[in-house]
Amino acid sequence: MRKYFDSIRRIAGNVVTVNAMGVTYDELATIDSAHGQSLAQVIDLEGQQVSLQVFAGSQGVSNNDRVRFLQHPMQVPFSDDLLGRVFDGSGRPRDGRGEVTGKLTDLGTPPVNPVMRRMPDQMVHTGIPMIDVFNSLVESQKLPIFSVPGEPYNELLARVGLQANADIIILGGMGLRHDDYLKFRQTFEEGGVLGRAILFVHTAADPVVECLLVPDLCLAVGEQFALQGKRVLVLLTDMTAFADALKEISIVMEQIPSNRGYPGDLYTQLAKRYEKAVDFDGAGSMTVLACVTMPGDDVTHPVPDNTGYITEGQFYLRHGRIEPFGSLSRLKQQVNGKSRDDHRAIMDACIQLYALCRESREKRDMGFEMSDWDRKLLKYGTLFEQRVMDLSVNIHLFDALDRCWGILAECFDPAETGIRRSIIEKHWPAGADESPAEQPAEATA
């Protein structure tokens, strides 16, 4: 039974209010206007008044257009035919091929029971030392890349997508420039992964509200693949566009804004999406890597701030490098203890020394005299940036660890590194020109 209603009482922003009965919360509807048909979703019920957010925008909708309620929430057809295809933010094909048929899956389903999750323990090798050594990416992790427009975050995302060992790659583009969309497609095609990739792309030219559905589409499809035992990697860019769309709707709905105009439930809305990242106990997994551009390079802006509290760490991409400070993978401890015994020691020591190097640089820049210790740190900093931090470095984890030992031996005495003696004895490069590891004090007694 389908119902039509044509008494639209209010059109404001992208929200349309219509008088209707028997409508359920979160239900989907279509609006037929002179400019075509659009999907809409119920976001408020008050007596007979039903408010709908219109995905294609309310432009051209008139007060006697027809609203048809579909009696189900937003759904996406799920089948293997999705692979290699490109869709828009409403789930319609964007690649000129036909509709996909399959089992219909609801979007925004209930969360996974925490006891049905397992501890992630598989490292995702990316070949980027700043990730592999210092902040290892782990299967089922949700991790954002904090960046600013102009930085190569989409390239980094595509590179991780290509090199990571995933069964299915799902790209969700929100407010994506058309060029960037084509680049992603090209990269995937050239890398030979398009056949196991699905793209949901909302470009900057599409209606703003359509981008709200992109993460849900990606995650609903990804979840189904993960339930089939597949290891899924979801790439989302850019989540700030998604949050801005949420803000637009909430303001039209006259909700009280909490911070810089964003709705009070921004945290919950973002968490609902990011928390879909999962390693099922007894099925596959879904890893989520998302780009978040920080307006004004301000990490305290509500979008990156709320994201940081939800995700399992974050990468800062600045000046074409992954920043060692602030970047963090919360799950790295799950994998870096069993890669190699010196992994953690190198990780801590290199960053602590690099932090000291930055202090020495500040001193130098202010014209102060450099001590021997400062000079050692400065040398270390330069070598570390060239040989490890540069984004073009593409080596295996173990090679990267060896490279770090080499730099340390070139610059410091073993005791100055702060690494515990047992690890030093095992890994300190033999050919280093320094005298062999200084003996502990009791040996000289």
Partner: protein, 575 residues
């Protein structure tokens, strides 16, 4: 009482009724497919009752029936709570997984206690005894604890035991006793009872001033910013500064009877870590699995937001229950900001006049009354029980000037402020030693600690001065002081959470190490140049670090200790 839905907005449902509505009572919104969604009345206006629904409201429509009850949102108390993993409304998650699989299903609720597991009951009263609410009727062993079966806490006045079950094996729903009040009223008592979560549970002779240190085995906490049994503390910090890791370490190593972990609106992964690790870990004090002393309340960020609000109260009620048995309980709430945000979301939907950052005006009083549920009690039988509450705060932008942090600081006894600068430099735990404070007594003699604190302050001043005048413009005495402050920070305040030995330092070892560290800090090195000063302090830092990694009293431990003693004797000069 029947009612009908007239509006739905997010998790807020407005229902119309002609009958009686009790504020904060529970109700069920009934879906057209028969699913009953648990809700709570949060406002009454004429014939309209506003309900917050503890589930997603997808699929509800105007005209759907609502069932209003008289009782308030409650949890069930009794043996079998320990080792459980509950959601915010006390549904056992492993049971839910068995019934409905990978995903949570709205409207599926399971009783919080197993009704099939038998418990060995030993009565401690006999017919004719006079008793009051909170008195023990007998005990059952629950893991390593003696679980008291109590007279229901809500009972008023004196009652006489008419009948009590003989020693034996019973399930929680079996009748254990019949009580009479002498005026003809009779009451049957089982091992389980309900208690409304938002009402503090405290039946005691008096409330005590908490003074007994709660040893967390984190050096910077126990030595510098101590917490006591029955006290309160908060850990505010920006994301990535290590709030959750600090909470997990505390849950693991704290010297306390029972730990309740309330994961409120945080990541599911962190809970998974706890619930996979804890059964494997043994508590060195009891030799039993850590899970036997732990209750987990998991209402993660993707789970319904209204249940998040309830979850901290659920946790507090369970904590208070075990306090009534003379046990020491630690409640770790992570994060109270998510709880505050849940209040904000709801307040927004109710269209209340917003306060600062859109938080409701009653935010501070809610925070205060939550922390006030902590405390040490002298029970009616003379034993002492305590509930300690430690909450993390996740301030927006890491700025402590926001309402939740400020509201919390007013009511807690210790403040462990985490700093971004320290975590960026990998100085963990990233508790800022200059900003944090505690009003409680600790395990280190206060004068000795005060002198170390002066050293830290002095060192910090010198560091700041050095950024202006440079190293060459700093006197050797000041320079040495800065190095000594760094040394104290490096070897004592910082601790490696991922090293088996260094992760947890018992009180005795803390005192001993602190003594040695003080000796070094008080040495007059008589350095002649700065390079010598730096070299010497680097060397002694290295000695102490390795000492920290050595298991207590192992051969390695003795070797490093000897090296340190020698260093002190010679002031680091080679002989």
């Amino acid at each position: 009482m029947k009612a009908r839905i007239v509006a739905v907005n997010g998790n807020l449902v407005i229902a119309e009724t002609d009958g009686r509505v009790v504020q904060n009572s529970v109700g069920y919104c009934i879906h057209s497919d028969g699913t009953r969604l648990l809700s709570e009345v949060i406002r009454v206006r004429g014939h309209l009752a506003d309900l917050q629904v503890f589930e997603e409201t997808r699929g509800l429509k105007v005209g759907d029936p609502v069932e209003l009850h008289e009782d308030m949102l409650s949890v069930v108390l009794g043996p079998g709570l320990l080792g459980q993993i509950y959601d915010g409304l006390q549904n056992p998650l492993p049971e839910l997984a068995k019934q409905v699989g990978f995903f949570l299903k709205p409207g599926v609720y399971i009783h919080g206690l197993s009704t099939t597991q038998p418990w060995e009951f030993t009565p401690s009263v006999k017919p004719g005894d006079t008793i009051e609410a909170g008195d023990s009727l007998g005990t059952v062993p629950e893991g390593i604890f003696t679980h008291r079966i109590t007279v229901p806490f809500g009972l008023r006045g004196s009652w006489t035991v008419e009948k009590v079950a003989p020693a034996g094996s019973y399930t929680v729903d079996a009748e254990m006793a019949v009580l009479a009040d002498g005026q003809g009223a009779k009451r049957s008592v089982t091992m389980q009872q309900n208690w409304p979560v938002k009402r503090p549970l405290s039946v005691a002779r008096r409330r005590l001033l908490p003074t007994e240190p709660l040893v967390s085995r984190v050096r910077i906490i126990d030595s510098m910013f101590p917490v006591v049994r029955g006290g309160t503390y908060c850990i505010p910090g920006p994301f990535g500064a290590g709030k959750t890791v600090l909470q997990q370490i505390t849950a693991r190593h704290a010297e306390i009877d029972i730990v309740i972990i309330a994961a409120c609106g945080e990541r599911a992964g962190e809970i998974v870590e706890t619930l996979r690790d804890f059964p494997e870990l043994t508590d060195p004090r009891t030799g039993r699995s850590l899970m036997e002393r732990t209750i987990i309340i998991a209402n993660t960020s993707a789970m319904p937001v209204a249940a998040r609000e309830a979850s901290v109260y659920t946790a507090a009620t369970l904590g208070e229950y075990y306090r009534q048995m003379g046990l020491n309980v630690l409640l770790l709430a992570d994060s109270t900001s998510r709880w505050a945000q849940a209040m904000r979301e709801l307040s927004g939907r109710l269209e209340e006049i917003p306060g600062e950052e859109a938080f409701p005006a009653y935010l501070e009083s809610r925070i205060a009354s939550f922390y006030e549920r902590a405390g040490a009690l002298e029970l009616r039988d003379g034993t002492v029980g305590s509930l300690t509450i430690g909450g993390t705060v996740s301030p927006a932008g890491g700025n402590f000037e926001e309402p939740v942090t400020q509201g919390t600081l007013k009511v807690v006894g210790a403040f462990h402020g985490l700093s971004r600068a320290r975590s960026d430099a990998r100085r963990y735990p990233a508790i800022d030693p200059l900003d944090s404070w505690s009003k409680y007594p600790g395990i280190i003699e206060p004068d000795a600690m005060a002198s170390m604190r002066r050293l830290l302050l002095h060192g910090n001043e010198v560091r700041q001065m050095m950024t202006v005048v440079g190293e060459e413009g700093t006197s050797i005495a000041d320079f040495t002081a800065a190095l000594k402050a760094d040394f104290f920070d490096n070897v004592y305040l910082q601790q490696n959470a991922f090293d088996e030995v260094d992760a947890a330092t018992p009180a005795e070892r803390q005192r001993f190490v602190f003594g040695k560290v003080s000796e070094v800090a008080n040495l007059d090195f008589e350095f002649t140049d700065k390079a010598q000063a730096r070299e010497t302090l680097v060397a002694v830092t290295d000695l102490f670090r390795n000492w920290n990694y050595a298991a207590t009293d192992s051969e390695e431990y003795q070797r490093w200790l000897k090296a340190i003693d020698q260093f002190i004797a010679t002031k680091g000069r080679k002989v």
